[in-house]
Amino acid sequence: MITLTGVTKTFGKNRVLRGVDLTIPSGQSMVIIGGSGTGKSVLLKCILGLVRHDAGTITLDGQDVTTADRDAFLARFGMLFQGGALFDSLRVWENVAFRLMRGPTKRPKAEARQIAIEKLRRVGLKPETADLFPAELSGGMQKRVGLARAIAAEPEIIFFDEPTTGLDPIMAGVINDLIREIVTEMGATAMTITHDMSSVRAIADRVAMLHDGVIQWTGPVADMDATPDPYVQQFIHGRAEGPIAAVR
């Protein structure tokens, strides 16, 4: 279980997170929604330690993430980045097997390649893709490779940062379904950041809305449409009128 209590983060004069309280139960898929620039990605990076939060605590299964053994902590995570973040200089299979070929769980090269091809197949890519370079792939294929890399070491927790951004609606649907299937199949805890409502409905068990640096509302996805919370209603219906300023 991931627990955030009073997490704050400021960049210069910009107070991005103003006291975030959130609990992500084990085995659940939590989706964080919110407008652009509201600090969703910063929140995710604070949990991973890519950005150090100013105040508050973040714990994973009761242990403070800032004092946890870094390698052991990160070994429990997989992450799909917004742009894929594939390593240009490595072939597709080497990207997918990156963690498998390094560190304490290092596997022989042939075995790592075999696992990578299996994961590529799991995300709907043919084995021939394995020997290509990321620059030779379309945006949707790059996202799938990123997804294969995120699940390659079978992590307990998977983060998805804007998994459908830049994809056409059909490919976005494919990625959403894949995420839902994989999370259910692996029994992983998932945290997804998105402002794509079709992703929210496809992926989420629970939803949290981040606005003005705090969690405005959180609850099961089934309650989202019925909640009277004006922030959630404005956001999910995409209205210009409401408590969220259209120009931020």
Binding site: K45, L48, G49, L50, R70, D71, L74, A75, F77, G78, M79, F81, Q82, G83, A85, L86, F87, D88, S89, F98, R99, R102, G103, R149
Partner: protein
């Protein structure tokens, strides 16, 4: 009071900022050096960097050396003629190349070619979140990206300097024999007679220092690149300018250390 202190503040701010930047680079250098001796090691990345920095820089360093050696021979001949000292051309070309021009011009050419390429590559990795991805994959970006490049450059640039020295001397010999009328055997004999091993070795040490500086500045500015194309462009420019200035400053310090009486 404000009017009195304002000029001091205007001087102090950039001085403090410069000192802070020097401190950050020094800490980064310490971090890189400390990782040189601790596993995991990345031999594949090291060999790739060695090829990129060493082998592929050979044409530009060689061309720089051959033209510099030739021009040096012409200059020394015409300057030496004022004192009837034309015969010193072979020895001065050799000493000038191996002690100063080989390492400094080689270092500057590598700075232009390699520091820019490293800064642009790592800067692009930063803005496309590839460095964050490395962290999430339990890989230290300094160890994986900076250490192999810095080690490769520190080893490759002295080799480039050695090759550049030989090519530069050959350039001087070509001009000396074909343009200035020197006897080929005498020219080569004078070169060998006047050159001491420390002349060559000191130049190679300089090359190692310049290689370290070039890769360090490329990696530092790449990893601290700002956002977007403009950020990567600025990082690339800062890497080349920083490496070039540091090479020239370090060259003076090393020359003082090696040759002051």
């Amino acid at each position: 009071m404000t009017a009195l202190t304002a000029p001091l503040a205007a001087i102090g701010r950039p001085v403090l900022s410069a000192l802070a930047a020097i401190g950050r680079v020094a800490l980064f250098a310490l971090q890189v050096v400390s990782h040189l001796f601790r596993p995991p090691f990345y031999p594949r990345e090291f060999l790739h960097a060695l090829m990129q920095i060493g082998w592929f820089s050979l044409p530009v360093v060689g061309l720089t050396a051959v033209f510099t050696g030739g021009a040096l021979a012409l200059q020394i001949y015409s300057g030496g003629a004022r004192f009837n000292a034309e015969s010193v051309v072979p020895s001065i070309v050799a000493i000038g190349m191996v002690r100063e021009l080989g390492p400094v011009l080689g270092g500057l050419m590598v700075a232009a070619r390699v520091a820019s390429s490293i800064a642009a590559e790592i800067g692009t990795m930063k803005v496309t979140e590839q460095i964050d991805a490395l962290v999430t994959l339990s890989t230290n970006p300094v160890k994986y990206l900076a250490v192999p490049r810095v080690l490769a450059a520190t080893l490759a640039v002295p080799m480039l300097v050695g090759v550049g020295d030989a090519i530069g001397i050959a350039g001087g010999w070509l001009v000396g024999v074909n343009r200035l009328g020197f006897n080929s055997a005498t020219y080569l004999q004078n070169t060998v007679d006047f050159l001491e091993s420390w002349d060559v070795v000191s130049g190679l040490w300089k090359g190692a220092a310049f290689g370290f500086i070039v890769a360090l500045m490329g990696c530092y500015h790449g990893m601290n690149s700002g956002r977007g194309a403009q950020g990567v462009g600025a990082a690339t420019k800062s890497a080349v300018v920083g490496a070039s200035v540091l090479i020239l400053a370090t060259n003076y310090i090393l020359t003082e250390l090696f040759f002051s009486a």
